[in-house]
Symmetry: C2
Subunit: 241 residues, 2 copies
């Protein structure tokens, strides 16, 4: 039985609807929305975007887009939202398009979670695309950590839980884990990571995206270290650390 | 990829704080609070208790106890609550004591969840102690199922998630599962069930109970089919089906 140690704590919150149970004020929060907000954010910044501004409504997205001459993006029910220019697919943001631009992004789950975590000491963006950098950063900072999963409309989802498990699997010896959700996420990852894409095919959001033709997005979003940057959310915008 | 089938749905809710996301009105809800409310309920009824009345406060427990001449039980912070006679340990309720009596029980998490599920078509009580009967019943009824975990103060816990996984593992071919929490619970169970007690030692509630001297309770509560009854919650009381 692992006794409490001098290591900082590591916890996992599997749904935004549970985030109020935790005090985030002294913690580094890793916001996780694998399909696809945090994967798209990592990709845009990796490809040279100046910054990403996450907003919670289509109206705000259009307004800020006009003010800043920025690229506006967001989907509702699997289609580009009326009034916006682009979707949530990370594959829409190659360097040839997004370099030096500002991206204003509205997503259903990830954006909302970013705003909910505003009391945190730091907020960073996690995806499989920047897994190694996130892990190295968390180890180096020696601060309490909360892995916050966006889920789907407050329901727990497979892909975000898997990424939480992947992070824990890599960094657990540096942290004091007294959180059952963290144990669950890690066990899930250990049992499935050798056939990640196979297990993903059972996920509800996989089926949703496939119906809308986003099969390539899923394979890309599961690519470990495919867009190795460390995005930080600060003062309403996400930029490289 | 599993396509939707004609089978009834099976979902899992890992925290009472997420239960509002689901419509329970057409469903059989299995209330799960392994450590220890639902294990104690199964045990008392298996040992001949007339019924168990779950209440949400110590005051109500005392009042109903007086009215019915019933046994009153409940703990707060690991000790018998002031004003009540017994604790939440299933081992306090052998047949020699509880046969033909009414037990009024107040617990922190399980009782609250029973009341939250009141809109369900049916509510049954699940524990490892009655695993096989619960599974057989759910298969026979051919109705949509929600496995509702009590958790700990709205946080997800290991033992309730494990039991949900154990149920799914046994009955999944009879149901249409489009719920990521169900996939997660089942994978967790598949990866740990050969060494259940070992994995339980990492659980937060295990550590809490050990500190209060309840080690025997835990081993008992993980005993598959140790108290093979099917308790049903109806009109404010729990009785055998």
């Amino acid at each position: 039985m692992a006794e409490p140690t001098e290591h900082p704590t590591l916890e996992v919150c599997l749904s935004p609807a549970l985030l109020h149970l935790y005090d985030l004020s002294q913690k580094i929060v890793v916001v996780i929305d694998v399909l696809r907000a945090t994967s798209t954010i990592c990709t845009a910044l990796y490809h040279g975007a100046q910054k990403v501004i996450p907003v919670d409504s289509v109206e705000k997205c259009m307004e800020i887009g006009r003010q800043l001459g920025a690229v506006t993006a967001g989907e509702r029910d699997g289609h580009i939202a009326p009034g916006l220019e682009h979707g949530n697919s990370p594959l829409e943001y190659p360097a040839s398009f997004i370099r030096d631009k500002i991206l204003v992004l509205t997503t259903t789950n990830g954006t909302r979670l970013l705003h909910m975590a505003k009391d945190a000491e730091e907020i960073i963006i996690g995806s499989f695309l920047n897994l190694t950098l996130v892990c190295e950063y968390l180890i180096s900072r020696k601060r309490p950590v909360m892995l916050a999963c966006a889920g789907w409309k407050d329901r727990i989802n497979l892909e975000d839980t898997l990424l939480a498990g992947a992070i824990i699997h890599r960094i657990k010896t540096h942290f004091d884990i007294q959180c059952d959700a963290a144990l669950i996420a890690e066990k899930l990852y250990e049992g499935t990571h050798k056939h990640l894409m196979h297990h993903m095919q059972q996920a509800s959001h996989y089926k949703r995206l496939i119906r809308h033709g986003f099969e390539k997005d899923i394979a890309y979003c599961l690519t470990i270290d495919g867009a190795a940057v460390l995005p930080v959310y600060r003062d309403g915008a996400i930029e490289l650390a």
